[in-house]
């Protein structure tokens, strides 16, 4: 497939841009933060109205079935204004798992609710500070007509707004194995689990979740016991590439704001952007961003086309994007000079969000290592 957007994708991109710019500019994030809130239910309702919550959900379950390139375009625009929403966790990653592994009952009840934005799910996977999806130690032991969960999940994205969790647990084997991984759909308000919310540097909340002899019924199972890895890996690829798409918007916006600043700010009687030391750094960053655009688009297409290279492309895209986003926000703050350090200027928000988004679904080091492994070295 050509590495350009179709007319429909271009239209979606344009409408996403104008919606987000109008409904959730960076100032909206500042207001939420100052009020101590994580997200805006009103924005979420607007996103649902736009159909974004169902963009990857099959039509027969109330979605648009528009594909992951479309989801990426929406998140790219969210990245530009740092708009916070559970789109990635619920509508894209959890929807992918339920579409792939759910039984008819689960699909019929959950997918339309995800697509309408009414129900928010998130994935409870990590048990470590550094992303390592196979390190799952949480156990699920068979009980008479259900399972008993024991363990602790960390850094659960959107853990403060989700009403249900897809929990990754082990029905056998050892941490590090890709066999014996099993998924369960669990209610957050279940008395048997404890959800502790934490505020992160990017003003978003994540949750730590504890399961102490938490009993779940057999119908909480998502997919066959012990056989989750293949689809979980695919969902994590989706998460990685879409998080790269968000970072693409974030990095481009940080770059463009910095470029405007360099043209505007005068020192020594001239715009500082006339200095070659800064021009060359800006030009270098522009090149890196051009590479990122190609990398992210290709990786998104690979998901929609189910290409055999999907995982390697996903790791390539997230690694390249994470590295470039860090460069972009570091250059942005440095080139803004003193005002870049002030809370009053928005540019610092970009650095904070980039730090968190780089970690989500694996950072540069995780994906560079995986890229090498998949390349057999």
């Amino acid at each position: 497939m050509a590495l350009i957007l179709s007319d429909e994708q271009q239209m979606l991109h344009d409408s996403a841009k104008s919606f987000i710019q109008e409904r959730s500019p960076v100032s909206a994030l500042r207001e939420l933060r100052d009020r101590g809130e994580e997200w805006s239910a009103e924005l979420w309702a607007g996103m649902a109205e736009m159909g974004w919550t169902g963009i990857t959900v099959p039509e027969e379950y109330g979605g648009l079935e528009f594909g992951h390139v479309g989801a990426g375009l929406v998140l790219e625009e969210c990245g530009r204004t740092l708009a916070s929403s559970p789109l990635l966790s619920s509508s894209f990653v959890c929807a992918a798992l339920i579409s792939a592994l759910g039984n008819e009952r689960q699909k019929e009840t959950l997918l339309p609710a995800i697509a309408s934005g009414e129900t928010i799910l998130t994935l409870a996977l990590s048990e470590n500070d550094r992303f390592d999806p196979l390190a799952v130690a949480t156990t699920a032991v068979r009980d008479t007509d259900g399972y008993v969960l024991d363990g602790r999940k960390m850094h659960v994205l959107d853990g403060g707004v989700a009403s249900k969790l897809i929990v990754v647990a082990r029905t056998g084997g050892e941490p590090g194995d890709n066999s014996d991984l099993t998924l369960f759909i669990v209610e957050c308000d279940d008395d048997a689990i404890q959800v502790a919310r934490k505020l992160n540097v990017d003003s978003r909340q994540v949750a730590d979740v504890r399961f102490e002899a938490a009993r779940v019924d057999s119908d909480a199972l998502l997919g066959e016991p012990g056989a989750a890895w293949q689809q979980l890996e695919r969902a994590l690829d989706i998460g990685a590439v879409l998080s790269a798409a968000e970072l693409l918007g974030l990095a481009q916006e940080a770059f463009e704001r910095t470029l405007d600043y360099l043209k505007d700010r005068k020192q020594f009687g001239v715009p500082v952007g006339s200095f070659q030391a800064l021009q060359h750094r800006a030009a270098q960053l522009f090149c890196e961003l051009e590479l990122c655009k190609s990398a992210v688009l290709k990786a998104l297409q690979a998901i929609d086309e189910d290409q055999p290279e999907r995982s390697r492309l996903a790791s390539m895209a997230k690694a390249k994007m994470a590295k470039t986003a860090k460069l972009a926000v570091n250059e942005a703050v440095q080139m803004h000079g003193g005002v870049g350090m002030t809370d009053e200027y928005d540019i610092g928000f970009f650095m904070k969000r980039a730090a968190a988004a780089c970690q989500e679904y694996g950072d540069f080091y995780y994906h560079a290592d995986r890229f090498a492994r998949l390349g057999k070295y």
């Binding site: 050509a2 590495l3 350009i4 470029l259 360099l262 043209k263 001239v270 715009p271 952007g273 006339s274 070659q276 021009q279 060359h280 800006a282 030009a283 270098q284 522009f286 090149c287 051009e290 590479l291 990122c292 655009k293 190609s294 990398a295 688009l297 290709k298 492309l313 390539m316 895209a317 690694a319 390249k320 560079a368 290592d369 890229f371 090498a372 492994r373 390349g375 057999k376 070295y377």
Partner: protein, 391 residues
């Protein structure tokens, strides 16, 4: 429109039939690359045959119009031809600055008479061209060039010297930037001339590089008579042609950043040389650097693909050539650095005349980010023309 799948089948069959077996082997030395021209000594009969057969169909310049002897292929067909050639590891029948650089400029700026005269010769590989751009005192500041062409009524008299003229000692003709207005601002007094390197007054001297090879020359013009009909485009408007041509050159050099067809990924080469430990390359630091490089390499190859796709869809930025030139050449240098690290002391040997070693390729790659406009010049172009940063 011809069905593309039919075209592929026909092309495949034709290549099977017509590409000699010895032209289906990877290029090992300079002699394996055919440059054509009046003085070319074919390495063997196959090399000659392969050039003739491809030129006959216009497939040395697949997308050029048939009325000048080109292949007349569409972009899609040309891509298929390239894929089918890669499939059997067929060599390019002709390396040519005429095709890669001069031709596109002739199509855009030359008179019909000039096109009729020069383009068919380029396609058939009968004339080997060199490029007379840089001068001893005009490198990155190319427009300050001083080679003079004085109007002598029915001809120009050219005097001056050029440097870094690729293969000038082997070339038949030169496309050359000369100053024709000595009072005008530097960009506005330059013209674009074509002339025969066998003309009286032309002399060349190869420059030996750190890699031991001598692909470049110093070229001196001492009162060289050039017929006026050899002026391309308008008098004193040569800088426009120069810029246009540099864009093509940048794209060509930027292509160095793409790994060669059929070459193994760096990670694979490293595993063969160093071995693995726990399924990973045994040297962890090198492994991380190789992964970093291969990620960039893949993203770059995709960017080349995207630029082509955008151009096809009429969305091109036009300024992409600087990005590709800059990134491609820096990647090629990085690749060579990593190959040297993978090879260790085993990468140090110096080759003889018939063999270019890893170390020599590594040394040669250093020139990639200097020739055709240095990386710093590309950064200037990006900052000013694309990003609109102030002077």
């Amino acid at each position: 429109m011809v069905n593309l799948e039919d075209f592929r089948q026909e092309t495949r069959a034709w290549l099977e039939e017509n590409c000699p077996a010895s032209m289906r082997r990877p290029i090992k030395s300079d002699k394996d690359q055919c440059w054509g021209g009046r003085n070319w000594v074919f390495e063997n009969e196959d090399q000659k045959l392969w050039l003739e057969r491809m030129a006959e169909r216009g497939w040395t310049a697949p997308q050029w119009p048939t009325e000048y002897g080109g292949g007349g292929l569409s972009r899609e067909e040309a891509k298929i031809l390239q894929q089918e050639m890669a499939r059997i590891v067929a060599r390019r029948p002709l390396e040519s600055f005429g095709i890669d650089m001069l031709g596109p400029a002739l199509f855009k700026f030359a008179s019909e008479k000039q096109k009729q005269r020069f383009i068919p010769q380029i396609i058939r590989g009968e004339i080997r061209w060199c490029q007379g751009y840089s001068e001893p005192n005009a490198g990155s500041d190319l427009a300050s060039l001083q080679t003079r062409a004085e109007d002598k009524g029915d001809h120009y008299l050219v005097t001056g010297s050029k440097v870094w003229t690729s293969y000038a000692d082997k070339a038949d003709w030169i496309f050359c930037l000369v100053r024709t207005d000595f009072e005008a601002p530097k960009h506005l007094g330059i013209s674009f001339l074509l002339f025969d390197m066998a003309s009286p007054g032309v002399s060349t001297k190869p420059i030996k590089l750190i890699s031991g090879s001598s692909p470049f020359c110093e070229t001196v013009f001492d009162n060289v008579k050039v017929p006026k009909e050899n002026l391309v485009g308008e008098l004193n408007k040569g800088w426009d042609i120069a810029k246009y041509l540099l864009t093509h050159e940048r794209e060509m050099i930027g292509g160095f950043g793409l790994s060669r067809a059929g070459s193994k990924p760096l990670g694979h080469t490293a595993v063969r040389a160093i071995g693995t430990k726990n399924d990973c390359l045994a040297d962890g630091g090198l492994r991380a650097d190789i992964a970093d490089f291969e990620i960039d390499e893949m993203a770059f190859a995709l960017t080349v693909e995207r630029v082509v796709d955008e151009a096809k869809a009429g969305q091109g930025t036009g300024a992409a050539s600087s990005v590709l030139k800059l990134y491609g050449t820096e990647l090629n240098k990085a690749r060579n650095e990593l190959l040297m690290s993978i090879g260790g002391s085993g990468a140090l040997p110096w080759g003889g005349d018939d063999k270019t070693t890893l170390a020599q390729h590594w040394l040669r790659s250093k020139g990639n980010s200097i020739e055709g406009g240095s990386s710093e010049i590309q950064l200037n172009i990006i900052a000013k023309r694309i990003l609109g940063m102030p002077s």
